[in-house]
């Protein structure tokens, strides 16, 4: 009596309680949920035998429940961590003791810690021991642990395969079920290969509990090892005659997987197996049969099975007239007969609509489907609205006009409070923009851009730019729209918008005065929106003379003096908010104005010389160069700072011929202006580009994913601060006569590598599992002991490889530099490559050797491989 009183007193302090239990080995039983929290009364139930001996040797590990309760008393993260560490230590030592009685309990505790994010990998082998045990309780925890803790690369998989194989042939169906479940969750491809025979056998059993699990297991096997698909074909014959809905459901999943994976299977099931009529029959039974308590969900008979069947019908009916014909009737029946007051009904209806839109259905049925979606759009349930928008987005390509009818409802969804719905509505709205409605739609979208959350702004702005480029009714409208975007969402606009806009403005010659005035006004009050300021600076630099002359017919012309213009540019230069790139734009603009303005040249000279000592290297360099232009090369200044020529149209978004104008035709812009004063200024500008951009030239990455236009016009843009010039050779090699020699100092614009290297043969360094890596070699021109290796990785399998990382190591006598890769995804079917440049410094000209490590994700699993490359051609290192 006394001792139990003492116990309860001690236990008032919850932290101690666990430790106390830990040392006494006492445990408790729990019956109801209330007791989880407050019961502190120990009900010692450990067999007497153990307690007496354990007190000397090692305490029995505390129960899972005990551990959870202890952890829950932790008030801080640190406290929790400490408790877990202590317990982990106890578990480890218990594992070392090879203790069989408590292994199950310990693994269960580990799984709990694993869920909380603590390392539990040391339990992997113990899981295996549990699986091998005779007891169901042990097996249950063991398999659960295996699913949660084991990863595919573990060596324990081999051992595991054996255990699973035994258990698949066990006499108890639940043990067989556990084995199937585990194999279906985490089986590696080797395991699947070894055990596919057993799975196939179980797929033919009459026991529905095992049969449904075997069907899903078969799906997993097929996913891991597609070539085993044939093996399951005979077993699928009778699957759909099952009465049990679980088996039916999983069978449909299996058939879907097979049809999706292989066109041959699809044809086989369509033609030989007559799958469509079978599915139609099942579906008909489901919707016609009355209430069946077994499968009823909110008044509808097994909606899950119905949804699955509708999905399979979609695959079977796609691009196949006969199959589509055979399912038209049933789809119409489902579409009209389904009760839609509950979510389940709508789920079926939604699936029916998707199937109707995807197969070659009758036109009447399609109208019905779109109307159902229209009804969905007006539904009060947000989920229904969301799926309606999603599916309209899928059908907008095929049934554009039908979707257009719901435009106003869709646009209304832009004002919804729910971000998921807003995003869908935004995407759909962009898909609905065409030449006829562009003005109205853009108004709505601009309004949306104004009010939406920051995370939408970048996407929305890009969408508006794209749509405006495609469907702009007039140049003026186009410029106005883009200006609106820049002023409302300026800082969210993606970087490429600036050069695109500049190009657009340059090409609309008759709009120059108007544009520069608008831009000037826009930045007059607020120069925090970087892209806007950049475009504005550029335009003021180019068309400053038009700005001060005030010759703009369309709008109230503003009177601006030269000093006022310089004031604003200078404040951009000074402002803390301006990015370095923006300052570059502003400085260049000021410089350009030196030939356009008449009475402020001295002021410009002063500004330029001030920035000659700027701490911003980029800015300083420009200023120094401009300064030199003023001093030594003043005679060339007007020619160098000539206005930019009209740029060639670069089509980034498909052919522009499809532009639908809205009756407002544009004069052919390119012809209104004579070619800009001969070739000389253009080539001079090109040279300037070299001079300015030279410092930024990075080593050539052969197929860098930049889509730089090859025209001179595109490169001229770079003059104004495109900082990621990748050193693509200038298209017109400049025949410049009086190149200022000092400007060239240290700035090499010639290609870094010469052609001597062309003689080195390339090698294949790695070719395994569909991944092929080729090395091509070049010798650096500047330093002959540097070998430049370009790797090209390609993928011949049918699935993309993602998160591809290439690493390389060389012996100590070499030095290695890995540049960043062009991408981390290798597209399937050899449809593209990743390139990456390796530079190897080999001062002693020794034979090259390299060890490479490859990691990537393929077919959902992480792959890793090591290889040694020894077959470097002698030319590459001699």
């Amino acid at each position: 009596m006394f001792s139990s009183l003492l116990l309860t007193m001690l236990l008032k302090q919850p932290i101690f309680s666990s430790f106390f239990y830990l040392y006494t080995g006492r445990v408790r039983n729990k019956k109801n949920t209330q007791q989880y929290e407050n019961s502190m009364k120990p009900l010692g139930t450990v067999p007497v035998l153990q307690t007496s001996f354990f007190s000397q040797r090692m305490p029995a590990p505390i129960r899972l429940r005990e551990l959870i309760r202890t952890i829950r008393t932790a008030r801080t993260q640190a406290e929790e961590r400490e408790m877990i560490q202590k317990e982990c230590a106890a578990i480890r030592s218990s594992f070392r003791e090879e203790d069989n009685t408590y292994r199950c309990r310990n693994v269960a505790k580990l799984l709990y810690m694993h869920m909380l994010g603590y390392p539990a990998h040391f339990g992997q082998l113990e899981c295996l021991k549990l699986i091998a045990s005779q007891k169901f309780t042990d097996k249950r925890i063991g398999y659960l642990g295996a699913m949660l803790l084991l990863d595919e690369r573990q060596d324990v998989h081999l051992l595991m395969t054996n255990c699973i194989k035994n258990d698949l042939n066990h006499s108890t169906q639940y043990v067989q079920g556990l084995a199937l479940c585990t194999l279906g969750c985490m089986g590696s491809s080797e395991m699947c290969r070894d055990l596919a025979g057993e799975v196939e056998k179980l797929l033919k059993t009459s026991n529905s509990y095992l049969r449904k699990k075997a069907a899903l297991c078969a799906v997993h096997v097929i996913r891991k090892v597609p070539e085993l698909m044939e093996m399951f074909l005979p077993a699928t014959k009778n699957l759909l005659n099952e009465k049990n809905h679980g088996v039916l459901h999983t069978s449909v999943v299996l058939l879907t997987e097979m049809c999706e994976r292989s066109p041959d299977m699809l044809a086989h099931f369509r033609k030989n197996e007559k799958l469509v009529p079978q599915l139609v029959r099942i579906l008909k039974n489901l919707i016609m049969s009355g209430y069946s308590p077994e499968h009823d969900v909110s008044g509808i008979s097994d909606p899950f099975l119905q949804v699955r069947i509708l999905r399979l019908l979609r695959i079977l009916g796609r691009n196949d007239d006969d199959s589509s014909e055979a399912m038209n009737d049933i789809l119409a029946q489902v579409a009209t007969n389904t009760e839609t007051s509950k979510n389940v009904g709508n789920a079926i209806l939604y699936e029916t609509v998707l199937t109707i839109m995807d197969i070659k259905s009758e036109s009447g049925l399609r109208v019905l489907a779109i109307n159902i979606l229209g009804r969905f759009l007006l539904n009060n349930d947000k989920n229904i609205r969301y799926v309606a928008l999603t599916s309209l987005l899928k059908t907008v390509q095929t049934d554009h006009n039908a979707v257009q009818r719901h435009r106003s409802t869709i646009v209304d969804c832009l004002k919804d409070l729910d971000v998921s719905i807003k995003r869908r509505a935004m995407e759909l709205s962009f898909a609905l923009v065409n030449g006829n409605n562009v003005r109205g739609m853009m108004k709505e979208l601009l309004y949306f851009l104004d009010s939406c959350e920051p995370e939408f702004k970048a996407d929305c702005a890009s969408g508006i730019f794209l749509a405006a480029e495609k469907y702009a009714p007039s140049k003026r409208w186009h410029i106005d729209t883009i200006m609106r975007v820049l002023t409302t969402a300026g800082s969210y606009v993606r970087d490429d918008a600036v050069p695109n806009l500049i190009q657009l403005i340059t090409n609309s010659v008759e709009m120059h005065a108007y544009t520069v005035q608008r831009l000037y006004k826009a930045i007059l009050g607020d120069y925090s929106q970087q892209p806007l300021v950049q475009v504005a600076s550029w335009c003021i630099g180019e068309y400053g003379d038009l700005l001060v002359s005030g010759q703009c017919e369309e709008e109230e012309p503003i009177q601006v003096t030269e000093d006022e213009v310089l004031d604003i540019l200078e404040s951009v230069l000074i402002s803390n908010m301006s990015a370095s790139v923006t300052r570059g734009y502003a400085l260049t603009a000021i410089m350009k104005l030196s030939t356009r303005f008449t009475c402020t040249v001295n002021r410009i000279k002063k500004v330029v010389s001030i920035y000659g000592s700027s701490i911003d290297v980029e800015l300083q360099q420009r200023a120094v160069e401009y300064n030199a232009l003023f001093k030594k090369y003043d005679h060339m200044r007007p020619a160098l700072l000539e206005r930019m020529p009209v740029m060639e149209k670069v089509t980034t978004n498909g052919p522009t011929e499809i532009v639908q104008t809205n009756g407002e035709t544009e004069p052919a812009v390119l012809e209104t202006k004579p070619p800009p004063s001969g070739l000389q200024p253009a080539s001079q500008a090109n040279d300037l580009l070299d001079l300015l951009g030279g410092s930024d030239i990075t080593p050539v990455i052969p197929t860098a994913p930049t889509s730089k236009p090859a025209s001179a016009g595109g490169e001229l843009l770079d003059l104004l601060g495109d900082l990621n010039l990748t050193g693509s050779p200038v298209s017109a090699p400049a025949p410049q006569i009086a190149q200022p020699p000092f400007l060239l100092d240290g700035l090499t614009s010639q290609p870094l590598f010469n052609d001597i290297a062309a003689g080195i043969p390339s090698i294949t360094a790695y070719n395994k599992n569909g991944l092929k890596i080729d090395f091509t070699f070049e010798r650096s021109n500047t330093n002959p002991s540097v070998t430049v290796i370009t790797i090209q990785a390609s993928n011949s399998t049918e699935l993309d490889m993602t998160d591809f990382v290439f690493q390389a190591a060389v012996p100590k006598t070499f030095q290695l530099q890995l540049l960043s890769p062009s991408s981390s995804v290798i597209p399937a079917f050899n449809s593209g490559t990743i390139t990456q440049v390796i530079k190897v410094l080999n001062p002693q000209k020794q034979q090259l050797r390299m060890r490479i490590k490859l990691t990537y994700n393929h077919k959902g699993s992480a792959m890793q491989d090591l290889a040694e490359v020894n077959n470097f051609p002698p030319q590459s290192w001699q």
Binding site: K30, N343, N383
Partner: protein
């Protein structure tokens, strides 16, 4: 395919996490955190779908969730699953838990996370729906629990006794036991270990 099933409470404490695609431990925790972050800031009266976070793999994936009292049930699925269907599946899952635990509450999930895993395994396997009939699931779970209990009861007693004796680790087995005038000679026993 269902990529992951997560249950966490209003504070982001995980109550169940089951991944059907391989992620490293760290990534798993990050996914849970990110998902909680995304889901928890949503109002009650918005839709139950979310475009997946960055970690769980790109635009093809969606988070479909339901909020019950203190718990969030989140399913991460790819485009091969019906959004509305998964919503119903979550409902079936919760109702099944309710049947198994009799008025399920967060504490049941906390203290019986293994049981929740077992129930889930009868419903979803390898990321695919296995069974949606609640009665069937409950029957199978009950039968398995019974099997466990029978092992723990009388049938399991011999095994426990053997393991207890094995664990005794006596310093040495006594050769002679003398109680008063009765003397017992202990025969040579085979060693247990």
């Amino acid at each position: 395919m269902i990529k992951a099933i997560l249950i966490f409470n209003n504070h982001g404490k995980p109550r169940l996490s089951k991944f059907y695609q391989r992620y490293s431990e760290d990534t798993q925790q990050q996914i849970i955190r990110e998902t909680f972050h995304l889901v928890s800031k949503r109002d009650e009266n918005v839709c139950n779908f979310l475009e997946g976070g960055l970690l769980i793999g790109g635009s093809d994936n969606k988070l479909i969730y339901r909020h019950y009292a203190t718990l969030y049930f989140v399913f991460c699925v790819d485009s091969s699953e019906s959004e509305l269907g998964i919503l119903d599946l979550i409902q079936v899952f919760v109702e099944t838990l309710d049947k198994c635990f009799e008025n399920v509450c967060e504490l049941d999930l906390i203290f019986h996370v293994d049981k929740v895993h077992n129930i889930l395994a009868e419903m979803v396997m390898g990321g695919m729906v296995l069974e949606t009939n609640m009665n069937e699931i409950v029957t199978q779970i009950d039968a398995q629990n019974k099997l466990e209990k029978s092992e723990a009861g009388l049938a399991g007693a011999p095994a426990r006794a053997v393991s207890a004796v094995k664990n005794m680790n006596l310093p040495e087995i006594p050769r002679n036991i003398n109680i008063g005038d009765i003397s017992i000679k202990v025969p040579n026993l085979p060693t247990f270990k």
